[in-house]
């Protein structure tokens, strides 16, 4: 199978370049990550992140044939050749397929991704009813791989100002959490032309989310909640 990989080493290159590879796949090579591991055995200078290799950690998010995905759960079968592997678009490249996630996590931290509740804690835990727990479905599953944010045009246009689909999905996850008491504070923070309202509902986020989530819908629900509270 033929591969075309984005290569950039700031110590050796002034500009990034594409490098071609040819690989004889083994029967056990099912996913793009399997091929990458085998390619690294050929050329140990290829740099990429990986960890769980089962779509849980989000480390190996990259652009595969023009579409953001996790290498560990993207099947090799069906990919057109040469398979192009590039770092997540719009993120600063550290080396090869490794990108700098500093801005991404700064946005994530800005939405205060934890339950805010100053009420005295109960003896054991803050309980939720099944219905209250149900509201977190479709939100809590985000693994922060950044596939969505990196594929979102408003995030390309305003990387430092628009929080991006991942952070906003997480914001909604805490706004609807029955144990959280900070919804008003969160919504007040989000009511900003850049942080929230740059979303143009392009839906790239939902299109590429490896967990099948819909950040655009979460963003719309934040807007509706803001509207409901201000009515």
């Amino acid at each position: 199978m033929r591969f075309k990989i984005y290569r950039f080493d700031p110590d050796r290159h002034t500009k990034p370049e594409w490098q071609d590879y040819e690989l004889r796949l083994e029967a056990s090579d099912r996913m793009v990550l399997d091929a990458l591991e085998r390619l690294r055995a050929q050329d140990d200078s290829i740099a990429f992140r990986r960890s769980c290799r089962e779509g849980v950690c989000g480390s190996d998010a990259m652009n595969i044939n023009g579409r953001n995905a996790l290498a560990c759960i993207t099947r090799l079968a069906g990919l057109s050749e040469p398979v192009t592997l590039a770092p997540l678009p719009s993120f600063p490249v550290i080396r090869d397929l490794i990108v700098d996630m500093t801005q991404f996590f700064a946005h994530y931290h800005a939405i205060k991704p934890y339950v805010m509740n100053d009420e005295p804690p109960p003896e054991r835990e803050r309980l939720q009813s099944p219905e209250e727990r149900e509201r977190l479905n479709g939100l809590y599953e985000c693994i922060l791989c950044a596939c969505c944010t990196s594929f979102c045009p408003p995030s390309w246009w305003h990387p430092g100002k628009f929080l991006g689909p991942a952070a906003l999905l997480q914001a909604q996850r805490f706004i609807v959490d029955s144990r959280d008491r900070g919804a008003s504070q969160r919504l007040e923070f989000l009511d900003d032309v850049y942080k929230l309202y740059r979303c143009r509902t392009i839906m790239n986020c939902a299109e590429v989310c490896p967990k099948g989530l819909n950040p655009a819908q979460a963003i719309e629900r934040i807007k509706i909640e803001l509207l409901r509270r201000s009515a």
């Binding site: 408003p154 246009w157 305003h158 989000l190 009511d191 900003d192 032309v193 850049y194 942080k195 929230l196 309202y197 740059r198 143009r200 807007k223 803001l226 509207l227 201000s230």
Partner: protein, 111 residues
């Protein structure tokens, strides 16, 4: 007042879109189904206070919708701050003049 407030623009854009949709549909239906309207009939219709009010409402919705829409495009694509402010000032001034002119024409005709 926050000029770039998020929710205000979001709400104004949607309310103005609803006004334009309703009036646009009514005008399209009238033109498609009703008898042909002459210029004299149109002037007579606009001279009625209720019709003039509706026309002013539609024109207001149109200018607000245009402002929010073009402002969004400028925010997304015009990156240098000085250029952005210049474009938005020209845009706001142009739309204000057009709105004032529209209002002047409709009101003076109706009076």
């Amino acid at each position: 007042m926050r000029i770039f407030a998020g929710q205000r623009a979001f709400v104004l854009q949607r309310i103005s879109a609803l006004v334009l949709l309703a009036c646009g549909t009514a005008i399209a239906l009238r033109l498609a189904i009703g008898p042909q309207v002459t210029f004299a009939q149109w002037r007579t219709w606009v001279a009625q206070p209720l019709a003039a009010s509706v026309l002013l409402l539609v024109a207001g919705a149109l200018f607000i919708h245009a402002w929010v829409g073009i402002r969004d495009v400028v925010l997304d694509y015009v990156r240098p701050l000085a250029l952005r402010l210049t474009v938005m000032t020209i845009l706001a001034a142009g739309l204000s003049v057009l709105a004032a002119w529209t209002g002047f024409i409709v009101v003076t005709h109706a009076l």
